[in-house]
């Protein structure tokens, strides 16, 4: 064993030397340091140097193997005891007074040295033995380690295998997820070669396999079927595609034909296409507007080609609205009831906001509105926009006028085509300020609306005729209650349309007249020339607009106000006619229904003091001359010249007045301011001594009525 160990150690050294020569050297030096006595002993130590320089084995190492440590220990003990004896003898000798260099001491010194050498050798051997022991321990430990490692590897392998086994045990086969037909069914349906009942009856595994086989078989068959169906579907789809393509290739052709036919349609005035579109949209109109549209369109087709009806507004919204169930009213009342209960609890501010919202909701318009255009001969168009207030169930109308010619210039004509007042009193006393539906008043009370008039500018005017055109009849005017819906609308359509057209024409005519009146020219048309003498000296000097307030403050119109002939919705003007020092002011009330209703003149003359129609009979006669004799003054129907003729007559009357007045006073002094030019049969007549204001056309003289 030892030799084996030595052999094993040798290459280790070599390896060490080759690997780390410096450490080797270091250790050699260290050895020298730790063993200072070393070099001195080298001579005794026989370094066995093998032929191969690499293998160096100390001689003592070899020696060591032969020695018994126990013997060495004994040797050590003996040596130490000898040394101690010698030391004691030297001590004794020295104390006995022997000289240092005496023989006995020298002898003993020599013996001591030998003992030291022995001790040294023993020490060396002990060291070597220790080292050897250590090496052996180490080697053994390494072997144990290797074995331990092997053990561990094996243990790990075992564990892994166990895990694999458990995994395998836990493995789930896919077939478990496949839904299989039940066993009885399987045996019934599957052919024998698959079911193999003789094998499978007992073997669950085989049974499962067989069932899976059957399943596979079935699935294959179904897959085949599926594929076939797919192919068929593909084929059909292709056919559909082909047909569709054919159809879509037709469309542009059809479209072209349609496009090409439009001029023909227009030429023949048969707007089929437009009508179709309109009819589509019209389905979403609320009933009232629908009635209005149908009747207006019908009237337009039958009697009035210039009338056109269009639907404007958001069709989608209307669609959404018409789809909504018709229970909104119930909701309203319910929520109202709740609201009232809550109102008592809630604070005022929130109630205010809520009211505002509710007001808005109440005044909501239907998203669709109707636009009716009435064209006049001169190219002016009256646009009427009809709206339907859903929650109030009334119709309103807004107006706009577009004219063929530019109408700027006349300051006093501003109000004439004002959309607010244009259609006022189309029928007598229909101001369109208050809602004609008596139900609305209670609705308004609920949300705190005092009068509909506040909202008229925004929502349009709810004239009674608009309701009638829409077929809405409210019980307040029960005279025609037997009519309703379309019949009611139809019964009013023609007259209303004529009135509308007449109104527009009248206003446009007035507009034109006003711009010349403002330039102090009275436009008298040739048809009316015969109503007046050729020479009229008095002339219009001023034509201005007045407000109702200003009018009521005039002193000389009080009798007219008292007679109830003036309404706030009328238009008020001030005309001034002058001749020389005489100045005649005329306050003119133009009813919205002009020319159906005559303008009303009230006069005041500034000449030698002030006189008015109230205090002087002749001025009163002039007023009646201007105001009453409509048939004479209106000119060609429908009497659009009425106002200008009245003003012209006023000028003529002033001439007569002034010229005959000076006649009366001929007894007084000075030259006459107004020489008599008019031919009068008599200057005064009757108890009130009226002047001759009536002009007789062909003869050209003035007479009394």
């Amino acid at each position: 064993m030892s030799s084996d160990a030595v052999k094993k150690r040798k290459p280790k050294f070599i390896r060490n030397e080759a690997g780390t020569p410096e450490t080797k050297r270091g250790r050699a030096e260290g050895d020298q340091v730790t063993h200072p006595a070393g070099p001195r002993l080298i001579g005794q130590r026989k370094l066995i140097t093998a032929k191969n320089q690499d293998v160096r084995v100390y001689n003592e190492e070899v020696e060591l193997e032969d020695r018994d440590p126990q013997q060495d220990y004994m040797l050590y003990k003996d040596t130490c005891a000898d040394l101690a004896k010698l030391m004691a003898e030297i001590q004794e000798l020295k104390s006995g007074g022997a000289k240092v260099g005496s023989v006995e001491i020298e002898e003993r010194h020599r013996q001591c040295s030998i003992h030291f050498i022995t001790l040294k050798k023993l020490n060396r051997l002990a060291h070597m033995r220790l080292k050897k022991g250590r090496d052996q321990t180490h080697e053994a430990k390494q072997r144990v380690d290797v074995l331990h490692l092997q053990l561990q590897n094996l243990l790990y392998e075992v564990m892994h295998l166990q895990k694999e086994i458990s995994k395998c045990l836990e493995f789930k086969s896919q077939h478990e997820e496949i839904e299989l037909v039940s066993e009885e069914e399987f045996f019934q349906e599957a052919p024998a070669e698959i079911s193999r009942p003789h094998v499978t009856r007992d073997d669950q595994h085989q049974l499962t396999l067989a069932r899976l086989d059957w399943e596979l078989e079935q699935r294959k068959r179904l897959a085949e079927q599926y594929k076939m169906s797919l192919a068929r579907k593909e084929k059909i789809q292709k056919a559909i595609e082909q047909k569709r393509e054919y159809l879509s290739s037709l469309q542009p052709g059809l479209h072209n034909i349609m496009q090409a036919s439009i001029p023909v349609q227009e030429y023949l005035s048969m707007p089929f296409e437009q009508m179709q579109k309109q009819a589509e949209v019209a389905r979403h109109l609320p009933p009232a507007l629908y009635v209005l549209m149908v009747q207006a369109a019908a009237y337009g087709q039958a009697c009035d080609k210039t009338l056109s009806v269009n639907i404007t507004g958001d069709v989608d919204e209307a669609k959404a609205l018409s789809r909504r169930p018709e229970d909104s009213q119930d909701d309203e009342s319910d929520s109202d009831a709740e609201e009232e209960q809550q109102n008592t609890k809630r604070r005022r501010a929130t109630v205010g906001i809520q009211l505002e919202d509710k007001r808005k909701e109440m005044l909501r318009r239907h998203p669709l509105s109707l636009c009716v255009d009435l064209k006049c001969k001169d190219g002016s168009i009256l646009h009427l926009f009809f709206c339907y207030l859903m929650n109030l169930n009334i119709l309103t109308v807004k107006t706009k006028v577009s004219t063929a010619v530019d109408l700027s210039g006349a300051v006093s004509a501003g109000e004439l085509l004002n959309s607010e007042s244009l259609l006022n009193c189309l029928y007598a006393s229909d101001h369109g300020k208050e809602t004609p539906n008596p139900v609305n008043r209670y609705q308004f009370d609920k949300v705190g609306i005092t009068t509909f008039a506040d909202y008229v500018s925004d929502l349009g005017h709810p004239y009674v005729w608009v309701q009638k055109l829409g077929g809405l009849q409210f019980s307040s005017d029960g005279a025609q209650s037997e009519l309703s819906g379309s019949a009611l609308s139809a019964s009013h359509m023609e007259r209303t349309m004529k009135l509308l057209r007449g109104r527009l024409q009248a206003r446009l005519a007035l507009h034109k007249q006003f711009s010349s009146l403002e330039h102090s020219i009275i436009p008298v048309s040739s048809e009316c020339q015969h109503l007046f003498p050729a020479k009229v000296v008095s002339g219009l000097t001023r034509w201005t607009m007045m407000s109702y307030q200003e009018f009521t403050e005039l002193g000389f119109v009080q009798h007219v106000l008292k007679a109830g002939l003036v309404c706030e919705t009328d238009l008020f003007f001030m005309a001034v006619v002058e001749r020389g020092t005489a100045r005649l002011s005329a306050a003119v009330v133009v009813n919205p229904r002009y020319p159906e209703v005559m303008p009303l003149f009230s006069l005041s003359l500034h000449w030698k003091g002030e006189r008015s129609g109230r205090t002087e009979d002749n001025l009163r006669a002039m007023e009646s001359e201007v105001n009453v004799f409509r048939a004479e003054l209106q000119g060609p129907r429908p009497g659009l010249q009425l106002l200008t003729n009245q003003i012209q007559r006023l000028c003529v009357c002033l001439d007569v007045y002034l010229e005959t007045e000076s006649q009366v006073c001929d007894g007084s002094e000075g030259p006459k301011e107004f020489p008599r030019e008019k031919m009068c049969l008599r200057t005064a007549r009757g108890p009130s001594r009226l002047k001759p204001f009536k002009y007789n056309h062909p003869q050209g003289f003035f007479s009394h009525r």
Binding site: V597, R614, T615, D617, R630, G667, P687, S703
Partner: protein, 324 residues
């Protein structure tokens, strides 16, 4: 609308009570005659409707300047023609004229109006004055115009008959008051009022538009101030300081009542003072009538430049208005 416009420009020119005194007829500038029932309007349970005419009809083309009641008929003067309507028929609301007569006029250009009519009860003749400056006298029995009194140079405003002397007084636009003898049809006197300084008002004119007589006294006015004349001495005894031109004046007991320009009835005393001016509805007045025939309905009515006729039960204030 048109009706109210007509009302606004209406003037009432003439009135006449029915012989029974229960009805009042009024004529306006449109040639219409309205008959009001005084008994209905004056009854304690009178309503708005009873102040409206029971009958309203168009009698003439021109204004009705003069109305006159005989014992049985209502005479109305239109443009150059005189129509008679039976009161009995009118009350039954029948509006057929009993007869219509026209004086013969010389001028053809214009038909002259008739401003005044009076009855000469002694001869049973109708005396008519108007636009042709002449006085025509018609025999009521035969309906023939038997004579013409010419003298005025301008149209005749008013006529008056003095029963005791059987004299006709006429006042005209020419400013003269002429006195005619009805038996001989000759002019007796001519007073040119505007030439008397105390009466003259040149700023207005010279016409005489109202005349009234009471025994020896005569009232006249118009352009010149209203003045009271003593006919035997032919001189003005008192001049009434009324601002406007007067159109009708009557003697009533110890008072003189006068209407004209201005919205009031003036009560004057013979001495020449204005006792009172009673306000009324029309802004100027044309006619004043007293219903003295029926004591039950003793009223004064005035009409003028309005469609309303004011009724005075007590003469010192307006009771109510009848309305066309």
């Amino acid at each position: 609308m048109f009706v109210s416009l007509q009302l606004l420009h209406m003037s009432v020119f003439s009135q006449s009570f029915s012989p029974c005194g229960r009805f009042l007829a009024a004529g306006n500038n449109y040639g219409e005659i309205a008959v009001f029932s005084l008994s209905a309007a004056l009854s304690p349970d009178a309503s708005e409707a009873s102040q409206k005419p029971i009958l309203n009809f168009t009698a003439h083309d021109g204004p009705v300047f003069s109305l006159l009641s005989t014992d049985t008929h209502l005479l109305s003067a239109g443009n150059g023609e005189i129509s008679a309507w039976s009161w009995a028929e009118l009350i039954k609301k029948s509006t057929k004229a009993a007869w219509t007569r026209k004086p013969s006029y010389e001028t053809s250009l214009e038909i002259p109006e008739i401003n005044a009519m009076i009855i000469n009860p002694k001869e049973n003749s109708l005396i008519v004055g108007g636009g042709d400056n002449n006085i025509h006298i018609m025999d009521m029995e035969t309906g023939i115009f038997k004579s013409v009194l010419k003298g005025h140079t301008d149209y005749i405003h008013c006529l008056c008959f003095k029963e005791r002397e059987e004299e006709i007084l006429s006042g005209g636009e020419d400013g003269a008051v002429r006195i005619w003898d009805s038996r001989t049809n000759r002019p007796v006197h001519c007073i040119e009022v505007f030439k008397y300084e105390e009466c003259a008002r040149p700023q207005f004119g010279k016409w005489i538009s109202c005349l009234a007589t009471d025994s020896d006294w005569m009232l006249c006015g118009g352009g010149p101030s209203l003045s009271l004349w003593h006919l035997r001495s032919m001189s003005p005894t008192s001049v009434f300081p009324l601002p406007g031109c007067q159109r009708e004046a009557v003697f009533y007991q110890d008072l003189i009542m006068s209407v004209g320009e201005g919205p009031h009835v003036s009560h004057c005393l013979h001495g020449g003072t204005v006792k009172a001016q009673i306000p009324c509805t029309p802004s100027s007045l044309n006619t004043l009538a007293l219903n003295l025939k029926n004591t039950e309905h003793r009223v004064m009515t005035v009409g003028g430049s309005s469609h309303q006729i004011d009724v005075f039960t007590n003469f010192s204030y307006r009771a109510f208005s009848l309305s066309f």
